[in-house]
Structure formats: C-alpha cells, structure tokens
C-alpha cells in the first residue's frame, strides 16, 4: 500500500514556463513533507520542505503548497530551466519519527529549451 503517491511518472515543460509536480498521501499522521531532486547516477538531494502548520513554503524559484484536507501537496518551479530536468521525489514523515521518511515513486521532469 503506497502511502505517498505521485501519479504522473513524467512531465515535459517548456523552458521559462511553470512546472507543477503533484503528490498525494494517504496517512493523515504525516505532518512533515519534503521534495528531493535526483539526477542520473547521483543520489537524491534535498530541495525544499514544509511542515503541516503551513500551507506554503517558498525558496527562490521553488514553492511547495500543502492542502491538508485533500492530503495533497505540489511543487511549483517558476521559471523552469533546463537544469531542472531530473526526477523529483515527494516524501513524508511523522513528527514522532522524522527520521523515517516515506518516498513516493518520483516524477521525471524534462524542461525543453
């Protein structure tokens, strides 16, 4: 049973446009959410996070939105750049065990020049 879902395996966006990556979760106990980015032949790298007490967190071109009632979060990248082409993993954890992070299957983003 997948607790963190990313229903779009891939996404293509034109350079300069907005990229929106979606994530849904099933466990209402999750209260901390993260996005990781992964280039080929490298390990995932932390991108941005959000706590359940917030509904938005912004860091430069990256913004994460959280809708707790819908158990949904999204990552917005504006403007998208070719270097953003990577696999993006959504992840979640519980306050009682922040070290136990559950990852989604990932969405492969291609930014077309």
């Amino acid at each position: 049973d997948q607790q963190v879902k990313q229903n779009s395996p891939s996404l293509s966006v034109q350079e300069g446009r907005i990229s929106i990556l979606n994530c849904d979760y099933t466990n209402s106990m999750f209260d901390y959410f993260l996005w990781y980015k992964k280039y080929p032949a490298e390990g995932p790298t932390f991108l941005i996070s959000i706590s359940s007490i917030k509904d938005k967190n912004e860091d430069g071109r990256f913004t994460v939105f959280l809708n707790k009632s819908a158990k949904h979060l999204s990552l917005h990248i504006v403007p998208s750049q070719p270097g953003d082409s990577a696999v993006y993993f959504c992840a979640a954890s519980k306050e009682t065990s922040y070290d136990k992070v559950i990852f989604g299957p990932g969405t492969s983003l291609s930014v077309i020049p």
Partner: protein
Amino acid sequence: EAGVVQSPRYKIIEKKQPVAFWCNPISGHNTLYWYRQNLGQGPELLIRYENEEAVDDSQLPKDRFSAERLKGVDSTLKIQPAELGDSAVYLCASSLHLQTQYFGPGTRLLVL
C-alpha cells in the same frame, strides 16, 4: 566538505553469490540509513543506525541481508546469497539527529 561516499558504484554478480556495499557518511553525522531503490520507485528504507545501534531494521530481509556500523562511522551492507530480485540501487544516507538526510551516489547492483 566531502559528501556521503559509497563504493563500489556498480556491481555485477551471479545469483547465489555474496556482495557487500560500503558507506562513509558525512563527518559528524550520527544517523546513517541504507535504502534500496527499485527501478521506477522511490527509495525504501532498509535499516537506520543511531551511532552504532540499529534502531530500525524492520524492513531488512534478515534471512539474507545483514548490516553493521562498527564504531558508529562507516557502515557495510551485505547480501548473502544474492537473488535476481535484489537487483536495485542501494543508497546510503546520513544526517544529524532528526535533520535533513544527505544521500550518497548509490551502488547499482545487477544480479544475473
């Protein structure tokens, strides 16, 4: 500052053979994780160490997998004997307690 180091980067073995992966975490990071990532999926936790103690190994298939973290620094993950289904990328990560995890590049294992 050096990141998480893993070796080897790639390994090809025949089924029933043993294999071992090594991880050197970021200096000062007391928490170390081993993950397995199958094709098209996200990383799945196998085992987590706090210093030299395995505090979560509930997802580690203990009949064939073993891990150790002597002296609370480097760690080794072993599979014996390997099966075809063990083909995956094995990722090591480290963190300070309850902080962001930093991943190594992974070891890509192919079992023939």
